[in-house]
């Protein structure tokens, strides 16, 4: 069989009414595992709330921070969540621009992941502030005292970048969901109908709406790609703009972007496996799509590995004494175990993605994607902690593992993210219905065309006279089974 049919990402014969019915059903009756996960996430989140209340009252000493370790896990987790937010929108936008059809069944939850991990990430700069109640001082508002934030600070850039990114990616998610909201408005009842009726903004699907929709979606995708790249470059500036050894690295922006895509792809894999199971989405989130995602992950993993090695060698051959000492301490010092975990999970584990058997085995993919994300989490920690542990002034060298409070908040953030995400996929379709329909439609065309071409070739081979052009036959397959 031909290429198209073999890599078919979805069964093109799916009836459109079934697509609607399946997705709507998924929002109503998930498997039991869904509720268990919700409960676990809620518990984790409540632990974090308790920890945060204590920390708020007592001060940041509760997090176990000390003089050299002014930042620790909070900032590492912040970078982790920001990184995770990148795959969704960035991949969705890039794949949209290059017309990769296989993105269609999975992009919705990937974009939701973006929005929610950004909302999780946004908490960490707040949690780690000494005086959270004065957070709004970072915003450039007109004050009667003529005081402005300091626009030179990468932290202010963060505030700008994150608010831009959060609003843009939420809009991107929302715009992409409007036609689906219309579907839901027409085919649900009760409060859901009311909710979707408001959210679909009166979408009717006429040609003017589709035309504007297509243009808008493309424009937003075009803006989101440079935006996503700039956001993580700015997050990397939090480190790269400082003069600390191990932070002041020129390659940090691309390195962070690659790392962000990497952890984001791994997270997409994890969520893919979970949603496929929770909502019985086997027909939509097919193994072929998983395979394409894993291949992409592998490619990005190699980019990240390369940039990581570049950074090490630049430090090694750069002969800056401080930088070099930090690098050596990472590999051999008290954090060595963590460092080598990062190397193993981030650089070695992705090679398992080379085997097709593994790529198509969902439980294995779940474990591997978790391992990749563990590697990426640890990577962020290995950026923050070892530098602070062994910076310029030897008098202030110290190793820190964080207090219970700190760990509770970090774990709780996973609960918060999980909660947001799970509520989202219950309220809104995690598979884009109208785009799956488009996918089926185009796939049918392609297959039909290929069959025609084959017939054509056969007639040619038989030495018969050529008739007509090779163009599309007038009778393109319609939409049977309406």
């Amino acid at each position: 069989m031909s290429q198209v049919i073999e890599d078919k990402v979805i069964d093109e014969k799916l009836e459109w009414s079934r697509i609607n019915a399946d997705v709507i059903a998924s929002m109503q009756a998930p498997r039991k595992a869904y509720w268990i996960t919700v409960f676990v996430c809620l518990t984790m989140f409540l632990c974090a709330i308790a920890a945060e209340i204590y920390q708020y009252k007592m001060g940041l000493g509760a997090a176990g921070l000390n003089n050299p370790h002014m930042w620790d896990m909070y900032i590492a987790t912040f970078v982790f969540w920001i990184g995770m937010s990148h795959a969704g929108t960035l991949l969705s936008a890039i794949l949209h621009i290059i017309h990769a059809q296989w993105r269609k069944p999975i992009y919705r939850f990937a974009e939701a992941m973006t929005t929610f991990s950004l909302m999780t990430a946004g908490f960490f700069p707040m949690i780690h502030l000494g005086r959270v109640w004065n957070l709004y001082w970072v915003l450039p508002y007109v004050s009667d005292r003529g005081i402005w934030p300091n626009f030179r600070s990468p932290l202010v850039w963060d505030a700008f970048a994150i608010s831009t990114y959060l609003s843009s990616s939420a809009l991107f998610l929302f715009i992409g969901m409007i036609p689906d909201m219309a579907i839901l408005r027409d085919h649900t009842t009760g409060w859901r109908k009311k909710l979707y009726g408001i959210l679909c903004l009166g979408w009717r699907g006429d040609d003017r709406q589709w035309r504007n929709f297509r243009r808008t979606y493309m424009l937003l995708a075009c803006f989101l790609i440079p935006l996503a790249i700039s956001v993580h470059s700015i997050v990397s500036s939090d480190f790269a703009m400082s003069i600390m050894p191990g932070w002041h690295v020129t390659t940090f922006p691309p390195y962070f972007v690659a790392g962000a895509l990497y952890s984001g792809c791994a997270a997409i894999m994890t969520l893919f496996v979970c949603l496929r199971y929770f909502f019985r989405m086997e027909e939509y989130m097919t193994l072929n799509i998983m395979e394409k995602t894993t291949k992409l992950t592998f490619a990005i993993a190699m980019v990240w590995t390369y940039l990581n090695l570049i950074e090490f060698s630049a430090t090694w051959y750069g002969h800056n004494i401080y930088d070099k000492e930090v690098l050596i301490a990472k590999a051999t010092g008290p954090y060595a175990g963590v460092f080598w975990t990062m190397i193993f999970c981030g650089m070695v584990v992705p090679f398992t993605l080379c085997f097709q058997k593994l790529r198509r085995h969902m439980p294995t993919m779940f474990v591997i994607s978790i391992l990749l994300n563990l590697g990426m989490y640890v990577e962020r920690w290995m950026i923050v902690a070892p530098t602070l542990a062994q910076a310029h002034s030897p008098h202030q060298w110290d190793v820190l593992w964080g207090s219970v409070i700190q760990w509770a908040i970090v774990f709780g953030s996973f609960g918060w993210f999980g909660l947001l995400f799970l509520v989202f996929v219950k309220l809104f379709p995690c598979v884009s219905m109208y785009e799956v329909k488009e996918l089926c439609f185009h796939l049918k065309h392609e297959i039909h065309e290929e069959e025609l071409a084959k017939k054509h070739a056969a007639t040619k081979a038989a030495g018969k006279a050529e008739e007509g052009s090779g163009g599309r036959a007038p009778g393109t397959p319609g939409l049977e089974g309406a």
Partner: protein, 280 residues
């Protein structure tokens, strides 16, 4: 109108440190610490605690690294093995260097730390939101963060009576650091103004300099060519501004250096190297 303001003064606002900077400095306070006569007695540190309302954090928090000693005496040993490991410690009084091109300043998101026309690296406690980036970006690690509400148990009755009324007691969540005793500078300036004269050398003495029994610490205005500090800087051939190595290396009398000078942060503290006859 600020729009007009930008157009008229744009080139002025674009001046950075290499062009002399935006500031027209009135003073540039600086310090000299002679390590040769420092005995590591810690009285500078003690004086600082008394003068600047520094919280006493207790043994446990000190061990965690949450101490608040603006002025700390670091100890280093040349040989940590051998028979006399405890001997031969070198002392390095370390305090905020009030750098001319301070790395802590541009990273503060709310401009809570900035450069004053006195050449000081000021910290506005009220404005600080505690992002702690400044401390992370300080190669000297001399910024101290209020991790807890230290004041609650730092000065039990009647010790609260000894707090210095000239400056505030800080609550949790703000960064603080050595200010070169800005309250004393303020007082001296006001006094000089009342007496209608310019500030003279010796009008301001920081608490650490005042308390040092051997007189290792000298404080003054490095812009005043007649001050003791300027003369020492001159003598040891160290100059304000970017890192320039133009020293007479043959002259053993010249012992001046600035810590982490190669990072180009323009520290205001000149250290004079310790000289020991190792044979003894």
């Amino acid at each position: 109108m600020s729009f007009k303001n930008i157009l008229e003064n744009f080139s002025y606002y674009r001046r950075d440190a290499e062009d002399g900077g935006h500031h027209e400095y009135d003073h540039r306070f600086g310090m000299t610490i002679d390590l040769d006569i420092c005995t590591g007695c810690n009285s500078c540190s003690t004086a600082c605690y008394a003068e600047n309302n520094l919280a006493v954090v207790g043994k446990e928090r000190f061990e965690k690294g949450q101490a608040m000693h603006w002025m700390r005496v670091e100890r280093y040993w040349d040989n940590i093995e051998g028979d006399y490991a405890e001997e031969g410690a070198k002392f390095l009084p370390m305090l905020c260097q009030n750098c001319g091109a301070a790395t802590c300043e541009p990273v503060c998101p709310v401009a809570a730390t900035y450069h004053t026309p006195d050449g000081l690296n000021a910290q506005v406690y009220n404005r600080c939101i505690g992002s702690r980036y400044c401390s992370n970006n300080c190669p000297f690690r001399v910024r101290y963060f209020n991790f807890w509400s230290y004041y609650e148990d730092s000065w039990p009755e009647p010790l609260n009576m000894q707090l210095n009324p000239d400056l505030s007691v800080r609550d949790k969540g703000v960064m603080e650091k050595c200010t070169f005793c800005i309250q004393r500078i303020r007082t001296a300036k006001d006094k000089a103004q009342r007496e209608e004269r310019v500030m003279a050398d010796g009008d301001v003495v920081t608490a650490c300099a005042q308390a040092c029994p051997t007189g290792a610490i000298v404080f003054g205005d490095t812009m005043d060519p007649d001050s003791r500090v300027s003369k020492l800087w001159e003598k040891h051939q160290v100059h304000r501004g970017p890192f320039l190595q133009k020293k007479d290396k043959t002259n053993e009398e010249i012992r001046g250096y600035r810590i982490f000078d190669e990072l180009n942060v323009d520290p205001s503290i000149l250290y004079l190297e310790r000289v020991r006859d190792t044979e003894v």
